[in-house]
Every structure is written in structure tokens, then in C-alpha cells.
């Protein structure tokens, strides 16, 4: 067992976990944050993507024990109260989901790619979005509306930064 303490969606969470506990298990079973989905459990589908210290990672492929002191954000932590995150709002507007199983991972990957490209001052083109989505699999939508949603959200997400300049 390992004693861990991390910040999840801004709140402190501590537990004594078996050493083989995956972050996805810790989030879903210990914290009951079931918005993080487990689709494949073989590190391929991306349904389980969360942010750890600002980076997108597959929570099914990280040990909880290795994250003592980490800052974790899950899909439950991106909205501002009742107000959806621009990425969530764009998925809703553009029908970027059908069954919704892949959606938490898509949104977390979407937010990550937009922030990375904006930090580097690079344009997030349609091509780049498709490339960036290589680790997120969707069985329903055919991806077109997901790509449109991320493109639209990228515009929304850049707006406040520009206004502040």
C-alpha cells in the first residue's frame, strides 16, 4: 500500500491505495468520479484521458501511487459551476457526440491540444486536430463533428486571452 495525496479538480484527495491501483480506478472507485471512462484498458482508446500537472495522460496507464503531490483535472472539473467549458459547449453545439462514451476523453484531449498550440503560438488547423486525435477513438460520430467542435472551441478559448492583451 502507498499513502498518496493529490489535488483532484481543486480539492485535496488522500488515500492509502494498493500499489497496483491505476489512476482511472482511483478516480472512479475511490473518488466516485465516474465521468472518466475506461473503454479499452489497453492504452489505445483515450476515453480515460485526464490532465495531470497540465498534461493530457491516459489515466488507465498511470499508477495512482506514482502521483503523490500531483494536480489532476478530470471532466468533472472543467465546467465553471453550471456554465459549460467552451469545449463542452462546442461539442454540444456541433453534435460532437452520439453515445457519449468517448466524449470525456475527447474533451480533455481537445482542451489539452488547444492550450498547447496556443501556448506555442501555432495555428490548430483541421489537419492538426485530426492528427492530435490519433489517441482518441470514437465508434459513433465519424469524427467530423468532433473536429468542428474543437475548431470552434479553439476560437472561443483564444478570445479572453486576446482581450486581455
Amino acid at each position: 500500500m502507498t499513502q498518496i495525496k493529490m489535488t483532484v479538480n481543486g480539492k485535496s484527495a488522500s488515500a492509502d491505495v494498493p500499489d497496483n491501483t491505476l489512476l482511472s480506478e482511483f478516480l472512479r472507485e475511490n473518488l466516485r468520479l465516474t465521468g472518466t471512462h475506461v473503454g479499452c484498458d489497453t492504452s489505445q482508446c483515450g476515453a480515460c484521458v485526464v490532465h495531470v500537472d497540465g498534461r493530457a495522460v491516459k489515466s488507465c496507464t498511470v499508477l495512482a501511487a506514482s502521483l503523490d503531490g500531483a494536480d489532476v483535472t478530470t471532466i468533472e472539473g472543467v465546467a465553471n459551476g453550471k456554465e459549460l467549458h467552451p469545449m463542452q459547449a462546442a461539442f454540444k453545439k456541433h453534435h460532437g457526440l452520439q453515445c457519449g462514451f468517448c466524449t470525456p476523453g475527447m474533451i480533455m484531449s481537445g482542451i489539452d491540444m488547444v492550450s498547447r498550440y496556443q501556448a506555442e503560438g501555432q495555428a490548430l488547423t483541421e489537419d492538426a486536430i485530426r492528427h492530435e486525435l490519433e489517441g482518441n477513438i470514437c465508434r459513433c460520430t465519424g469524427y467530423h463533428n468532433i473536429v468542428k467542435a474543437i475548431e470552434d472551441a479553439a476560437d472561443q478559448m483564444s478570445a479572453p486571452a486576446q482581450a486581455a492583451e
Partner: protein, 265 residues
């Protein structure tokens, strides 16, 4: 996943000690290969020795014609590093093409090189640039390091601490990704160095990464794609599986080698 004991040592010495006192201990780098393998019960180490608590393991620096990348540097760090982009742009580009963004935020160069997957990208760069693998106890030349599929010169409880890449005058890497897994069906790394041209091929060989000598000779006389006309690799040593036959892979090696030379900077 079977039960295992997690360790997070603060130094390389402590890590080596933890490994040697474990019954069947394994190093944990970014976990992007080891954890999926453990989940499938294909590996069941009694102890995992995580290197991420060791300060400086992910350092990247360039001096005196050598780029040194710490074993703990993650693929995303290497791809984004201004030092790597300046010294060996082909290496930054290779790192940025490994797997997907979430794999790149965790996977490390040390883990990839230690694992020596026959379809992995980094082994092509390490061999193609004639790099040196630095461990806790010695330095191993790339030519002596890769011993075959998933097999290396690393001893038991030996830990890679860094990779030293001599900076070439130019280098390029092109891979033909498997459309499903994104691993290389064939990846070719070419480099123009003081000692002539080097060409390393990943994804294709039955024994993992290898040097294509006929291509090296052709490129040593003239480092341009046209020089590779007629320079081939023998299909007899190539992998043949549901993704492609040995002949197909041998053909792809020639095509990728030319594109790698064209892309070299």
C-alpha cells in the same frame, strides 16, 4: 494487474539497490509499455522502481558537438525542446511522431531504448546517429547495444541514465506508420556524419533495428536521394506478418530512405 510493490527512489544508486534487493524488480519509466504489458499479465514484476523521483534524469543539454538527453526525458519534452530542435531537428520530429499526445506526455526515451521494440522509433535514431547509451555503470555504443527483438546489452539491474548523440551535419527520419497502431511498419533514419553516412531501419527487420550498409555506402559517396537508386535491403531478413510481407517491407525501406534523405536538415 497482479500486485506489485512500488518504489520511488531519489537517486540512481538507491534505484539500483532497490532493484537488486527485489525478487523480480523492474524499472518504471513512463509506464506506457510496461503498464499495458502488466495489465495483460504478460509481465508480473514483484517490484516497480520508478525513476521519476530522481532529480535531473530528464535533463537535455548540448555541448562540444554532443546532444545529451536524460533517460527520463519524455517524448513530448524532446519534441518541444529548443535545444534538440536546434541540434538535431530530425530527432525532435521523430519524438513528436511517437504514438499520440497522451503517450508522448508520459513515455520516456530511456524506456523506449531499453525496451527495443522492433517497431519503435527511437532505436532508429540511436543507431542511425551512432549514439552512446549511458548507464549507471558504463557507456555502450549503439552498435553494441541493440541485440535483437526486445533484447539489448543491458545487464540485470542496469539502468539507462542518458543517451549521448553526436550532432551530425544533417539527419532525417521518415516512418510509414501502421495505420492502426501508429508504430512504424518501416522507419528509416539517415545521418550525414564526419565518419560517412549512417542509415538505420526500424519496423522491418526480424532482429529489430539494423543498419543498411549498401545504402550507407551509396550515401557516403553522395548524400542525396538519387544515390539510393538500386541500393536495397535483402527481403530475407524482413518481418512478414498480417500488416505486410517481407518483400513489401524491403520495398518500403528504399522508399522511406529516399524520403528521409530528402527531408534531412
Amino acid at each position: 494487474m497482479y500486485q506489485t510493490k512500488y518504489h520511488k527512489p531519489a537517486s540512481v544508486d538507491e534505484a539500483v539497490a532497490a532493484l537488486s534487493s527485489a525478487e523480480d524488480g523492474k524499472v518504471l519509466g513512463g509506464g506506457q509499455t510496461l503498464l499495458p504489458t502488466m495489465k495483460q499479465h504478460l509481465a508480473a514484476p514483484t517490484d516497480l522502481v520508478d525513476l521519476r523521483g530522481i532529480a535531473g534524469m530528464d535533463a537535455i543539454s548540448a555541448a562540444d558537438g554532443v546532444l545529451t538527453i536524460g533517460a527520463g526525458a519524455r517524448h513530448a519534452d524532446v519534441a518541444a525542446s529548443a535545444t534538440v530542435r536546434e541540434a538535431i531537428p530530425a530527432l525532435a520530429c521523430l519524438a513528436g511522431g511517437i504514438g499520440d499526445p497522451a503517450v508522448r506526455s508520459m513515455g520516456t526515451i530511456g524506456g523506449s531504448v531499453a525496451n527495443n521494440d522492433p517497431a519503435a522509433d527511437y532505436p532508429a535514431a540511436v543507431l542511425g546517429l551512432g549514439a552512446t547509451v549511458v548507464t549507471n555503470s558504463r557507456e555502450i555504443a549503439a552498435d553494441d547495444f541493440f541485440e535483437g527483438m526486445f533484447s539489448t546489452a543491458l545487464g540485470e539491474d542496469e539502468i539507462i541514465t542518458a543517451i549521448k548523440f553526436p550532432i551530425p551535419s544533417s539527419a532525417g527520419y521518415t516512418k510509414f506508420p501502421n495505420p492502426a497502431s501508429r508504430y512504424a511498419m518501416v522507419g528509416v533514419f539517415v545521418a550525414q556524419t564526419g565518419g560517412g553516412a549512417r542509415v538505420a531501419v526500424t519496423g522491418a527487420g526480424q532482429d529489430g533495428v539494423f543498419r543498411a550498409e549498401m545504402m550507407e555506402n551509396a550515401l557516403s559517396s553522395s548524400f542525396e536521394a538519387g544515390a539510393l537508386d538500386g541500393a536495397t535491403v535483402d527481403s530475407r531478413g524482413m518481418l512478414s506478418d498480417i500488416h505486410g510481407t517481407a518483400e513489401y517491407r524491403a520495398h518500403l525501406v528504399s522508399v522511406m530512405a529516399k524520403r528521409a534523405v530528402d527531408s534531412a536538415v
